[in-house]
Amino acid sequence: MANKSVPLWTLYGLKQGKATVPWPAGERASQQGFLGMPRFDPGKCAEGCRECVDACLPGAITLQSGGEARLSVDYGRCIVCQLCVEACPTGAFAASSDWAFGARHREDLVWSRAVASADGTALAGEIRRVFGRSLHIRHVDAGSCNGCESELQALGNPLYNLHRLGIFFTPSPRFADLLLVTGPVTYALREPLEAAYAAMPEPRFVMAVGTCAVSGGSNGGGYSCANGLEGLLPVDLYLPGCPPNPAAIIHALLMLVGRMPQRVRGGRIAEGSERA
């Protein structure tokens, strides 16, 4: 019997039309309703209260003495569980849709009143010079919950279609420009992770995707894990989120190659950068 299925499939594919959304506006629309990092407003924070501190499993919120605010809020540890928003009696933590949390410096993920100015454009310039307009990524799962992988895999679906941006996953570290790491780094995956990094040609870059890889989050430490890439590998780009959505990952990748600006400063999306 002749096989009719292939032409039928082709026809079916054509009927579905073109699904890819235009970047960046459509990417943002595709994340409609997304709950991101809660916004912190120290002006509303009540003296003597520690509700959010106790509600925050990964310890992203800590009491401070003599800082800019009563609390230190480290979004590099935040797993977007929204419990602080529910626990806060005064609205000092408010739900937000902020997800574009890719940052070149770890400090940019910590709330601060003054916004640091260094934005690492020098690095971006250098990367652009090195890679032109394409980027090859080696992904290493260092002990994720598979949530981050699920979103990385989504980058290949017809909606995000990462290839159109000149970004590719490669099976070999020898052809990779970027090591993309997920998970808190288990004792058993530390060595394979370091081996992948060692096998990459210079210049090589490292991106921590997901709160686990940035700081360990809720799943780091303990008897079998490190605290993400902290103290293990030099990180060029941090992207917290649990998991970061596909648009956040695309934004961070484009940021790395200097095709998008960083939006987060002082632990919050800087005013006016929404449309950047």
């Binding site: 994340q31 598979n146 989504a154 995956l189 809720s218 799943n219």
Partner: protein, 505 residues
């Protein structure tokens, strides 16, 4: 109600033999330290190391509620029950690794959850601050190939593999295309998740449960919360129970769509690959609009729901998804190139599936008519019994068919929830008493998840045990690989729909 029975070590074997002969399923075994929570209290130093107690979870044929056998090892050695119920083997080895308790005559002694070469100064699950493992890599335990057969090749693969996939190490012994023996070395991703629950206030455990297996966030937090609700004897308000069904079925939906796309990827059906992943994306966007999370996180809590999902605007995109899915499913089921690769691939016979503990769609595709949503109903599944998809093809095709049918059933169930959703509160108080315990379960897209929780004297978590479906199905999977060929391996693996995070924990 869950029934507790004390069983002395010497009575374990006859009881187990009797139960298995009567068609019972030994679900799993775990250990905990009844006197251990005192060790957490710095002010009262422990006189001696607390002793572990074993819990066997047993489902007798035809019974709604599980039985729990309590066994205090004491001076007598505890016999391994793996010769009677093979699926217990991995569970027993995990108990040995994490709680230091050995089983007499274990047929496959050796580390399981800890990699060869990983050493713990004290049993990791012994209450109190954990001592980090030390690790010096050792070769994996592989069988010797009899005789000096020069044609037999060994192909090691992993733990970091090609593409965006989870980490694990696979060894294939093969001649030409034929696989003689296959050994998956899992547990590279072991994060010690169960230990992380220790000492937490119960509500925070729900957030952690969502991060054990990310694509099973709902099933894990649901099983966890139901375990606490059992401990607290708390009634979840009907509205919350119905909404939990909605969340659980939305989880099944995006997972099964992903599964179909990935299966097409392995049979190189390009359009089917793209379409499956496209539909998965639409489902995740529906999740996101309804709950703020593409993985449906941050809603389920002990006693009900933290907040209500947004239901307006759910029916219409679901109807569109359904219409598109129907065309997709019809294509999948009539594409001969695709089906040719699935039929007779990865055969898992009914008896083997039962003995080795297959669960979920894998089990139902091997002719076992079992679904805890219907057979051990929990929450609103009591009022909303699902139709159960069963096939007896026992191969990759049957596993695709079960998933396709389950997608249809899930969409129907969501429709029933939206139509009949009761009014009222969506959260009740849930305060398990200090020292109480409970068991909860849920049917995830991959099969049954169990959580067992024990509260300490302060009402905090003393011990949380997680039984994930992939832990069960990975064990089964290897049996379907030996004696098959390399070309079919990826298809077979995809047809099982396994996660590694859930298995490794």
């Amino acid at each position: 109600m869950t029934r507790y029975t004390d069983v002395a070590p010497r009575d374990l074997e006859p009881r187990c033999r009797e139960a298995v002969a009567a068609g019972a399923r030994m679900q799993f075994v775990y250990a905990w330290y009844p006197d251990g929570s005192r060790a957490l209290d710095d002010t009262q130093p422990m006189e001696q190391t607390p002793t572990a107690e074993l819990r066997y979870i047993v489902h007798a044929a035809g019974e709604h509620a599980p039985q729990i056998w309590r066994c205090r090892p004491g001076a007598q050695p505890v016999p391994s029950l793996a010769p009677i119920a093979p699926l217990l083997s991995w569970h027993e080895r995990e108990v040995t690794d994490l709680c230091g308790l050995k089983f007499k005559d274990q047929p496959q002694p050796g580390p399981k959850v800890l990699l060869p070469g990983a050493k713990a100064a004290r049993p990791p699950l012994l209450p109190g601050p954990p001592a980090p493992l030390t690790y010096v890599r050792e070769p994996y335990i592989l069988p010797e190939i009899a005789g000096a057969a020069p044609d037999v090749q060994l192909l090691p693969f992993g733990p970091v593999r090609a593409g965006v996939v989870e980490s694990a190490h696979f060894s294939f012994y093969y001649i030409g295309e034929a696989i003689l023996h296959y050994h998956p070395q899992l547990f590279f991703k072991h994060r010690g998740m169960e230990k992380r629950f220790e000492g937490l206030p119960p509500p925070l455990g729900a957030v952690l449960a969502e991060r054990v297996s990310g694509v099973g966030s709902v099933a894990h937090s649901l099983a966890y919360c139901q375990a606490l609700e059992a401990a607290a004897q708390c009634e979840v308000p009907p509205r919350a129970a119905w909404l939990r069904v909605l969340l659980a079925e939305l989880e099944r939906l995006y997972n099964h769509l992903h599964y179909l796309g990935h299966l097409c990827h392995t049979t190189t059906l390009k359009v089917g690959d793209a379409e499956g992943h496209y539909l998965e994306e639409l489902a995740k966007q529906i999740n996101c609009r309804a709950t703020g999370s593409r993985f449906l996180r941050s809603l389920i809590c002990p006693g009900g729901l933290r907040r209500e999902p947004g239901l307006e605007g759910l029916a219409e995109p679901l109807a569109r998804l359904r219409a598109e899915f129907d065309g997709y499913a019809a294509m999948l089921e009539s594409s001969t190139t695709h089906l040719d690769r699935l039929i007779t691939t990865g055969v898992l016979g009914k008896q083997l599936a039962f003995d080795q503990g297959a669960t979920g769609p894998v089990e139902r595709a091997s002719g076992i008519d079992r679904d805890p949503r219907r057979d051990q109903p929990y929450g609103a599944y009591r009022e909303l019994p699902p139709r159960v998809a069963v096939r007896d093809g026992c191969d990759a095709r049957a596993r695709q068919q079960v998933r396709i049918e389950e997608i249809e059933h899930s969409i129907e169930l969501i429709g029933r929830v939206l139509e009949g959703l009761p009014d009222g509160a969506s959260r009740a108080e849930c305060r398990p008493a200090p020292g109480s315990e409970g068991l909860g379960w849920a049917e995830s897209p991959r099969g049954s998840v169990y959580y067992a929780v024990h509260l300490d004297a302060r009402g905090r978590l003393a011990r949380v045990k997680v039984k994930s479906p992939s832990f069960s199905n990975w064990r089964v999977f290897a049996h379907t690989v030996h004696g098959t060929n390399m070309m079919d391996y990826a298809i077979n693996e995809a047809s099982f729909g396994l996660t590694i995070a859930g298995c490794d924990r």
